[in-house]
């Protein structure tokens, strides 16, 4: 059992730093280059790994602290809804997807008034569409 979050984040940074150093080392270079394209990313990756090492040591020396909680169902639900919305943004009509996002998110976040759940999603999707389409002249995804 990890006794402090800094140990976990420190180890993650060491791994990330090592992987990034390896990947940066694979960047192509030409023999005549003095300062190659890999120079700076390698430097930053080593810096990241060193920060991780420092953090892990700090965590080992610190008093016990619990890991952050990622099991809040409301937040997990919201992440799923957001992922669906952002990843299908360009293929679904903006008005429809925004209406669905608003409805699902509002319900997840505790809105229970029927009137609110009917009016707000429709109003937000239409108003945002009109502002972006006609105010800022940005073409949002639309089927019709």
């Amino acid at each position: 059992m990890i006794r402090h979050p800094d140990i976990l984040s420190g180890l993650a940074l060491i791994v990330a730093g090592a992987v990034m150093t390896y990947l940066s080392w694979q960047i192509e270079t030409a023999p005549q280059e003095v300062l190659t394209a890999r120079f700076f990313p390698v430097l930053a990756s080593i810096g990241l790994a060193l920060c991780g090492l420092g953090l892990a040591i700090k965590g080992l020396l610190a008093t016990r602290k619990s890991l952050p909680n990622f099991s809040d169902l409301r937040v997990i639900g919201l992440i799923v809804v957001f992922l669906l919305y952002f990843f299908t943004f360009t293929i679904v009509d903006f008005r429809l997807s925004t209406w669905a996002l608003m409805l699902a998110s509002m319900y997840l976040l505790g809105a229970r008034s029927g009137k609110q759940l009917v009016i707000t999603p429709i109003a937000v999707s239409l108003i945002t569409f009109v502002i972006f389409r006609y105010g800022f002249e940005i073409l949002l995804p639309q089927w019709i």
Binding site: T29, F40, F87, I138, L139
Partner: protein, 499 residues
């Protein structure tokens, strides 16, 4: 040699004859007021949402919109600070101490009125300092070489990394993440692909706007969703405050006002400190010099005056390093630098020399934004209280929609929209482990500047690394950076010992 000509001033003034520019300034101020007043949604998130909209706008329109929001956002954060004891932005935390106590005594209207007028005074003072100081500093900065620029960028980055979060190591690690992300794409010197993994979308690098939206907007929304049921506080019936009552209060506190404006502007100029530190320092100074009869902790108007004057005075001060050396001093100006780059402008020592007209435009726009903030803040302060009452279950998805639409506006491709969510989730996980977001963005913005100047500095000096400490200005800046980092590294253990 004068960097600003009469033509520059006339050009800048002429821009404001376009009603669309004025309208966008008003829209920007209103947007800033709304984003600032909505508790938990910060000015940075507001600017990140607005920036993509400015893609197709010309310089004047884009800057009017952004500077309006930038100027008004900090004041508006005082409204929830006063009414529900929840600062709209971290810069308003000091305001909530005395402001909320005033509200509990039925004097919320007085506190909000004082906040808007003080914000206006602080803002105008800092704009005047920006106008008078920046051209001189830019002249000095013109003499800098790559060596000095590298050291300055390093100071800017480490200063933010050091004060952004609870841990210095986490701040520096966050900055390293940003720097590594900034190296993705085609190397500007050799033309080599770096860390793109064969993805065409990454050839141009990690996109800045989606990164800003992800790190500042999505992370904030997910964090806010955790305390969605935060209880509202009931206040007693409130007294109406008449504006003619303001003058005697200001005459009584004229020195405090001036002192707070100077503190805010000076702290704004320094890298990394920003409006929340300005507000706390100013508040602390006001409390330190309290007179008998002052009721600090029980609703003292001087606390509101000090905090609100200082946090808005940062707006002009923070623009000084941005427009003279091209280094953003805090995350908000990092967003603004992104907006300037989008406009094809390279902020730095050449900005005022080559685009003096645009510099003057920025000064006038910020001055006008302050006036509009005062007018709208005073006339619509009742309406702004309604923003505070927008329920989280509506606010969170609305900001998500604006973020997605804003991200889509960048290029109209799915990549940017998906990147917002991926970066946002990554940021949320980091945030849960108490990594600050600001150094990541600063690393992303300053990474190319650091790399370019490091490579140029070394190449021009036969790969001699000591040049960064042997040249006097660069050596001085590096010394300040080392002292700052060492001080902050030692401060942590000392705090633990005291506790």
């Amino acid at each position: 040699m004068d960097l600003i000509s009469q033509e520059d001033i006339l050009w800048a003034l002429a821009q404001f004859t376009d009603p669309v520019v004025v309208l966008l300034l008003v829209v920007g101020v209103v947007a800033g007021l709304i984003f600032g007043a909505a508790p938990g949604v910060t000015v940075i998130a507001g600017l990140a949402v607005i920036t993509p909209i400015t893609f197709d706008m010309d310089f004047g329109k884009a800057m009017a919109l952004l500077l309006g929001a930038y100027t008004a956002g900090y004041f508006a954060g005082s409204i929830p600070a006063i009414l529900i004891n929840t600062p709209g932005t971290p810069a308003n935390a000091a305001t909530s101490i005395e402001g909320y106590m005033l509200a509990k005594k039925g004097r919320a209207d007085e506190a909000v009125s004082l906040a808007v007028i003080c914000s206006f005074i602080g803002g105008i003072f800092s704009v005047l300092v920006l106008a008078s100081l920046a051209p001189g500093l830019a002249k000095v900065a013109l003499k800098f070489t790559s060596v000095e620029y590298f050291s300055l960028a390093l100071l800017g980055l480490f200063a933010v990394a050091a004060v952004a979060g609870q841990s210095l190591l986490k701040g520096i690690a966050a900055a390293m993440i940003g720097i590594i992300a900034s190296t993705v794409g085609i190397d500007a010197v050799t033309g080599t692909q770096r860390l793109t993994f064969g993805t065409i979308d990454l050839l141009g690098g990690v996109p800045l706007i989606p990164a800003l939206l992800g790190l500042f907007s999505i992370t904030e929304l997910l964090t806010k969703a955790q305390d969605v049921y935060a209880s509202e506080t009931m206040l007693p019936p409130q007294k109406e405050f008449r504006l003619r009552q303001v003058l005697p209060i200001y005459l009584r506190n004229k020195w405090l006002l001036l002192k707070s404006a100077v503190i805010g502007t000076f702290i704004g100029i320094l890298p990394s400190l920003g409006p929340n530190i300005a507000a706390w320092v100013s508040f602390g100074e006001a409390a330190r010099t309290a007179k008998p009869g002052d009721a600090y902790g029980e609703g003292e108007e001087k606390g509101v005056i000090a905090a609100e004057t200082a946090n808005n005075a940062v707006t002009g001060g923070g623009m000084v390093p941005l427009l003279t050396v091209g280094i953003p001093g805090d995350p908000v100006t990092a967003v603004l630098i992104g907006a300037l780059i989008i406009q094809g402008i390279d902020p730095g020592p050449f900005f005022i020399r080559d685009d003096g007209n645009k510099f003057i435009f920025i000064i006038i726009a910020m001055g006008l934004a302050n006036i509009l903030m005062l007018a709208l803040g005073l006339s619509a302060r009742g309406l702004l209280r309604c923003v505070v009452r927008i329920p989280n279950h509506t606010l969170i998805p609305v900001v998500a929609v604006l973020s997605a639409a804003g991200g889509f506006a960048v290029n109209g491709t799915p990549f940017e929209v998906m990147a917002i969510m991926v970066i946002g989730l990554f940021g949320f996980i980091l945030l849960r482990f108490e990594f600050p977001m600001a150094p990541i963005v600063l690393g992303l913005v300053l990474g190319p500047l650091l790399e370019e100047n490091l490579r140029n500095g070394l190449t021009a000096n036969d790969m001699d690394f000591t040049v960064f400490v042997t040249r006097p200005i660069s050596g001085g800046i590096i010394a300040v950076t080392v002292i700052l980092v060492a001080f902050l590294a030692l401060r942590g253990p000392m705090r633990h010992k005291k506790a």
